[in-house]
Symmetry: C2
Subunit: 768 residues, 2 copies
């Protein structure tokens, strides 16, 4: 834990002081991104200390050859890796002949700030070099939201104790490697290096996937605030790198500034042969606006995001900082403009896990994006899966399924499976359920009934077919069973009849059938088109229903609870609170087999089902299941505390809900799991948002209406959030005594507060 | 399948004709070994075609860094690899300036013979080189059984169509690599190269394990049968290789011969600084005897082995060849002289799997060695595990066990675990039972009751402690359960209450308690010593008994069978015979998850328990379980057919027993699994022996007496085998009408044939 390191602040993440041991952690926390690209908070100048260099471009990946100890039939041959992209931020700096390197200087007054409100990252420090010169530096960097191929660096240096010859050597470099490569392969093939005046370009292509990328830079120098009309004093162009040299004589206390515009133009968006041209256009536009205007534009763009997505918390700075950090990172990672992209588990902050898309998107992220952005964004996320339907069908075929059964991959970049643990890849099939659930959830929330006939129904059919085939008939039970799965709780592998999986499988079939009937009634042409396309007939649907109508759900009469899986009650049921502290976290202290045979739950499993299908169960049932399972839950997944926070709040257990909330919201800032140096936990950040809106705010959608059951942790004076509900924005402000609604829109909205209808007129405060 | 490739022959393995596609397979089949070293049947001369070069030294291994896709807590960091050893067999041959290379010549009359009776391997061929010269070659190689550091090659060349300048370039080379290396590391560090006259020495040391090995050679030349008193014409000595050149002018139809003595002296047996000296002694002894005498000695040594171990089969050459190949390979692999060694799954025929010791040794190999060798050999195999007890305790500690609980590794070279699949390494714990069972089996067979008080009891206590801790109490069953295991059937992973595991666990505790009591009564001093050493008291034993007395065994009342594991009856019970042929073998055709949730059984599981504990069950129970499980068994492990053959014979189903027998005995010769190029399946060869002796012969030991229920497959006229029973050798010859016993020994023996006592006097044929 890192609890007191990041300076508490309502709007910024702040680090004060230079600690070489923390450089990698801070590189993660201070990462910036604009949905299209991003990078860790690596220093621009050379740094010989421990660092994890990482720049990433959305949608650009590499299929790294699978590495396993023992091959299992069905493993994918390749693993889609998040790819470390060419570096455009680098600026070597030589001062009076000595390379500036914070690992080799005396560093004073080091400070980082990630200004989340305005969307920029800055670093200031003073350094005394080995040659005795003292300088002050002030570096600001941001990735433009409005021109998302553009990044901007403003690097100011002021010599303090004597005049200095300062050489800036900005470069772009395609010779990068992944930290996380299986076979030490090169991922990038350099194609071309060009330079012209103050502009440099490196074009490279990924091996195998053949994404072409032009990485570019443009440099301008200022002395004492005035632009120097100079060209590089020298140019060093290699096969995958181009570096300029600018030398400026600077008086003491005079400030020299390099402004570097850089970024990527990529073949996802431009023709291969137009990449440099496109880059020149980006530079020309940026030059025309200039640094100050670009920064103003950036502030306005982030203000627009916050206007919709902000959550305020009164009386608890750390909680406020935590939730804003979560919202900020989600928006840095994915803005929803492009249905080819998705939300990687580390976003642009690291490369661990690989792939960009997990069931996290559907189970955790969609509610956030649905409520804080235009509903097209959530629709784009659904479309992403629709675009991958054929791949999901092929994925199921590889495992022996047929007739259009679709199994969405556990991890993917392009629709193909790229994970390779058998117990996850082949068995954690409940992910398929979340993809269907997201379609349901989107429709329920947005009221957009057009997505299902247009696209969603094909996905629902493929998923229903999968479950129909995957369930098998047990003669001894005269029921359908689902054998050999891993549920959401990954501390159990290859279990039979995981309640969550069986339940969602049954639900998927029932929902698909219901939607087929609805589409038949309301969108007949679509119905006929899809039934034909899918070669689906009434007989097959009847077979599905035979399975869903006779699905086995393990239940304990003694405890009055559904069992996480067959045999759960054979375990030694010692509660987490009775475990010696020295044994935790069990994923670090225990061997894998011991974890597996223990009752301990990594993240909500049965309770995940109760979260998704809350309306199917009574409050008493929820309470009984929560009281049965939570005591065995170790919350060692970043996705665990949020669901429990929501359920604890629903059960009126606010102290517990608040504890879970803190754990989810400051997971990375306080480095609970001692691993933030690998990157931030992006997808679970959406769970933090849910903890407040669905947990404390008690927001639900029922019968096309918003419901709230507002509660407030005693640590807080108040909190507020906004929800885009069917193209009107409702702001909800909760205080201990009252809840205030304010509607930005044009037609009145009836919401339900603790079950009672409240009519909210547009632009009129309503206090309840 | 390769069914008609190897020429049927009672005593030899013969290949006729040169087929480059089969070189790697034949390299496996024609491998030679002498228990201390061995190598694949690689050509001595250079060969540029596809080949798998492999020479191995018993007990010399390398801890290769573990390679896995996803790390699980508890994985061993290193994997003990069977190490490709320096090459002493190499002889480059240059004929009239052209390198002899069978990939580049016309090859005629190519023939290999592995003479199992006499223990040598020969290769003859004629070759027409690109320069037009035709030669005949005749190469014999053997590894001395009597001087087990010595190998001998006799390489004769006869030019056929013109005179030739023949250059032999014999070498020893330490610059070898493993086919199977995780990280492309070098395993050998060269230390020293020496040469002196016709002798050359390369000393090298393994990295990390620091085994030192001197690889040596001595060369003598003969022309037309007369020794040439020559020294090398040239010597090429590098850092890890020394190569001599001998040039001889040879007339047409005149034969030149290089005799090369070579081999290894190793630091397991000599001081590091005496290795070359020891090698010189080996050479001097060999020189003193000469090639012919060495070959005679070899024939006598193998005759002595066959005298004891041979099984004859009348009327079925393929069956005869099969069983002799199995017996021969077992004896090439392990001769039982050294308790530091064990029986690797590939012997000296390949390097796949790594490690040398699996539960195969205890479950399959010990009965063979016990019956066909001095009983000290089996005792050495038991002692091997006693020597590793401390490591087994540490291995259990790594998984969270304590108080001297011992878990023997799944795979090992030095007692440490070196396998790394969680479902095997951590879960296939039934192996511990086989180690206790072997102690029981050894004592039952040999009547040697001294091993247990001297060594075995400590092992039994460590194992009992493991099971006591590993079983957990299930409140719902009021029984002890064993969760999260993999049974012998590796097509099930992480199952609960595998019958075989639970049964053998219970048995291990009961047997340990019984033996503690027996030792207390009969070896009081040992008892007190061991109880003190193990800090074991009566209270703890009572706790063990609480577990063994209340062990849960899954049982189906409906089917009247013990269940392989909890939930087995939830599977879709489609018999193997109802599976489409195109679906098999399922381990090649199906994804791993599909295999796991199928009912299909890789090798005997419940039936392995019925094999070990036959006396605990009635014939009717055996029949019921055989009829229930065998139809779901795919026999995709080399260890499967033998157990089923024995049980089918016991049930009087001779046709089925014979089919299983053929499958086990010619598995490699006929390459059933299309993988013999990787090496032979050595350990399962002992199962072939059991199929005849225990299966057809029906041999058992009960109450200190041998019992037989002789049966004969209708394809055979007769068969015979010998058994060393308590230091007397009983030969059993079975024909359709009669069984003949012949006892080599000095005191009469009462055996039971089909339950009736038969007294056999020494050296007197007794016909029943």
């Amino acid at each position: 834990m890192n609890q007191d390191y990041i300076v508490p602040d309502n709007w910024s993440i702040i680090e004060e002081g230079f600690d070489a041991e923390r450089v990698k952690s801070s590189e993660s926390l201070f990462s910036i991104g604009n949905g299209a690209m991003g990078q860790r908070a690596n220093f621009e100048e050379s740094y010989s200390g421990e660092t994890f260099q990482g720049s990433y471009i959305a949608g650009i990946y590499y299929p790294d050859k699978t590495k396993v100890g023992w091959w299992k039939n069905g493993y994918p041959e390749y693993f889609a890796k998040v790819l470390n992209a060419p570096n455009w931020i680098g600026i070597d700096i030589v001062i009076n002949g000595e390379m500036l390197d914070l690992a080799k200087c005396m560093v004073h007054n080091f400070r980082r700030e990630l200004n989340m409100k305005e969307g920029w990252y800055s670093r200031t420090f003073q350094a005394t070099l080995q040659n005795g010169i003292e300088i002050k530096a002030n570096v600001t960097r941001f990735l433009s939201l409005t021109a998302d191929e553009l990044g901007v660096i403003n690097y100011e240096i002021t010599p303090l104790n004597r005049a200095a010859k300062i050489e800036y050597r900005p470069y772009v470099d395609g010779g990068v490697k992944n930290e996380d490569a299986n076979w030490e392969e090169q991922f990038w093939e350099p194609l071309d290096v060009q330079h012209e005046g103050n502009q440099g370009f490196v074009t490279a292509r990924t091996f195998k996937t053949h994404f072409n990328v032009a990485t570019f830079m443009h440099n301008t120098l200022f002395l004492a605030g005035r632009e120097l009309e100079i060209l590089p004093a020298a140019v060093d162009a290699g096969k995958d790198k181009v570096q300029f040299s600018y030398v400026v004589e600077v008086n003491p206390n005079e400030t020299v500034t390099l402004q570097k515009f850089g970024g990527y133009t990529v073949s996802l968006n431009h023709d291969n042969d137009k990449l440099v041209e496109a880059a020149k256009n980006v530079i020309a536009d940026a030059r025309a606006k200039g640094y100050e205007a670009l920064l103003e534009e950036q502030k306005r763009a982030w203000a627009a995001i916050w206007e919709m997505a902000d959550i305020t918390i009164e009386g608890d700075v750390k909680a406020q900082q935590g939730i804003r950090f979560n919202i900020f990172q989600l928006n840095q990672t994915y803005l929803g403009k492009d249905p080819r992209l998705n939300i990687g588990p580390k976003g642009f902050t690291g490369e661990k896990y690989g792939g960009s898309t997990y069931w996290d998107t559907e189970a955790y992220c969609i509610p956030f994006y649905m409520a804080t952005k235009d509903q097209q964004v959530a629709r784009n996320l659904l479309t992403y899966r629709h675009n991958h339907l054929q791949k999901a069908i092929e994925n199921a075929q590889k495992l022996g399924f047929s007739n259009g059964a679709a199994l969405y991959p556990m991890v993917t970049m392009n629709g193909e499976e790229c994970h390779n643990e058998w117990e996850i890849t082949f068995e954690e099939i409940h992910r398929n359920g979340a993809i269907a659930y997201a379609i349901f959830n989107y429709t329920r929330f947005t009221g957009d009934h057009s997505y299902i006939p247009e696209k969603g129904l094909e996905v629902l059919i493929g998923i229903a077919r999968f479950w129909h085939q995957r369930a098998t008939y047990s003669a001894q039970r005269n029921k359908y069973v689902i054998l050999g799965v891993t549920g959401p709780n990954e501390y159990e592998n290859n279990v039979n009849n995981n309640f969550y999986t069986n339940y969602i499988a049954k639900w998927c079939i029932d929902y698909a059938v219901e939607q087929i009937e609805k589409v038949k009634r309301e969108y007949t042409a679509d119905h006929d088109r899809i039934m034909k396309l899918a070669s689906l007939d009434a007989d097959e649907i009847k077979q599905w229903q035979e399975v869903s109508g006779n699905m086995y759900l393990p239940y304990s009469e003694e405890h009055g609870v559904y069992l996480q899986q067959d045999g759960f009650l054979d375990k030694e049921l010692v509660k987490v609170s009775d475990l010696d502290r020295s044994q935790r976290p069990i994923n670090q202290k225990w061997s894998w087999d011991r974890i597996l045979r223990s009752p301990y739950i990594k993240q909500a499993d049965v309770l995940q089902g109760f979260y998704f299908f809350e309306d199917h169960f009574t409050q008493e049932e929820l309470e009984r299941h929560f009281d049965f399972y939570e005591p065995y839950t170790v919350h060692e997944s970043s996705l665990s505390p949020c669901v429990h926070s929501i359920q604890a709040a629903k059960l009126g257990r606010m102290e517990q809900a608040y504890t879970f909330y803190l754990r989810t919201s400051r997971l990375d800032l306080d480095d609970y799991n001692k691993e933030v140096e690998e990157g931030c936990h992006i997808t679970s950040m959406a769970g933090t948002w849910m903890s407040i809106v669905e947990g404390f705010g008690g927001m639900r959608v029922k019968d096309d209406a918003l419901h709230f059951e507002p509660r407030i942790p005693q640590q807080w004076k108040g909190y507020s959030f906004k929800v885009n509900f069917r193209n009107q924005v409702l702001k909800v402000s909760v205080h201990r005594e009252e809840t205030v609604f304010n509607l930005e829109g044009d037609k009145e909205l009836t919401v339900y507060v603790n079950g009672k209808p409240v009519t909210v007129e547009p632009n009129t405060l309503v206090t309840v």
